[in-house]
Amino acid sequence: MREIDVRDVADSVAALCIKANTDLGPDILVRLKDMRAAETDERPKAILDELLLNAELAREKEMPICQDTGMAVVYIRIGQDVHFTGGSVEEAINRGVSKGYTEGYLRASVVADPLLRTNTGDNTPAVILWELVPGDRVEITVAPKGFGSENMSSLTMLVPAQGIEGVKAAILATVKKAGPNPCPPIILGVGIGGTMDMAARMAKLALLRPVGEKSPKEHIARLEDELLAAINDMNIGPAGLGGRTTALAVHINTYPTHIAGLPVAVNMSCHATRHAGVIL
């Protein structure tokens, strides 16, 4: 049994909120540069240059990459040999979000009730994804999720007869319908299988995978490649104004599912697919 004080959780979350929002991952920067080099027209090149310059400026000035500093999605993997001291882990996470968003000059973008819509003022509460794993460590990832892209996400409950063609059609239709709205170039997190909530959770977690890393399952890695090529043939392009760079990556997670079902969830994200993590 290892003891961890929840204050360490709160402090880590606060620091990760700021880091994730101001420091775009090197995997994404590399992919943006590579795809910029492959564009032939001036307009997509110029827009990708703006995004690259923006990321540079954000890091230099410690400003958010995007003003939509998101709803804080906190993914916490807790070793089953850990014992937390000092109070509630959930409350500690939210204290961390409050501190990070307030001290980091990040935007408070959360309303307390989806219908009454009063801003909570400090971006709490977080959306917390819990996972219990073997060991005595705690892994925390903060992934601020912007809603311009979140709103363009989809869930399709296919039937088994629709198979892989149905899966492809559902994903491509989501991208096409979204068009310029989610700030292309996009990153797609896809969850296939499980139940409807499990598919959505897998889609969200797929966004945390580094750009450039493929699914370990061969047939899924092939599907990722095929979908990425098809999306980049759509001519949506940076900012939706045409070009080859519509998506930077397609990441698919799968899980066993029911004999009657084939759920497909697509979590849409923009180039600012931000996440930062720490291991306690």
Partner: protein, 187 residues
Amino acid sequence: MPLDEVERKILELPVTREAARELRAGELLSLRGVIYTARDAAHKRMVEALARGEELPFDMTDAAIYYAGPCPAKPGFVIGSAGPTTSYRMDAYAPALISLGQTVMLGKGLRGPDVIEAMIRYGAVYLGATGGAGALLAQRIVKSEIIAYPDLGAEAVRRLEVYDFPAIVLIDSLGTSLYDRETVASV
């Protein structure tokens, strides 16, 4: 800096309906002057105020509205990151404001037919700024002041002064849209 290497037409704000009618989809602009921020919650309040016959927080005649909810300004900064938000969420409110004289909308993404119809009828343009470039765009905002609904936080109405703020005409007052290409138009 690529932003300034591109040739842009300077557009002084505010813009009259006559001047708005002269802009064409695809034109690259450099905005100078006053623009008000308003997004979901502020639009809802303004349209509700109109329904009750109350005054709006600013004169809508020739007004330019930026669909944006900036980050808080760090000490020594004019404003925090301040890129555009997705515009279609304001579609329910925009025609009423255009009918009152608003000539410029600045945002990103698709617009619905009712908005485009109002733009054609009254003379208004829909401009785009690059989504996801909020840190960069904030550098072109030289003054920022909350003028209404401070309780809305990031969604409060701000009066901004911009200088050489990069924008593109996405949809003009003839209804021509830069998004109307094969893929996107067929959505």
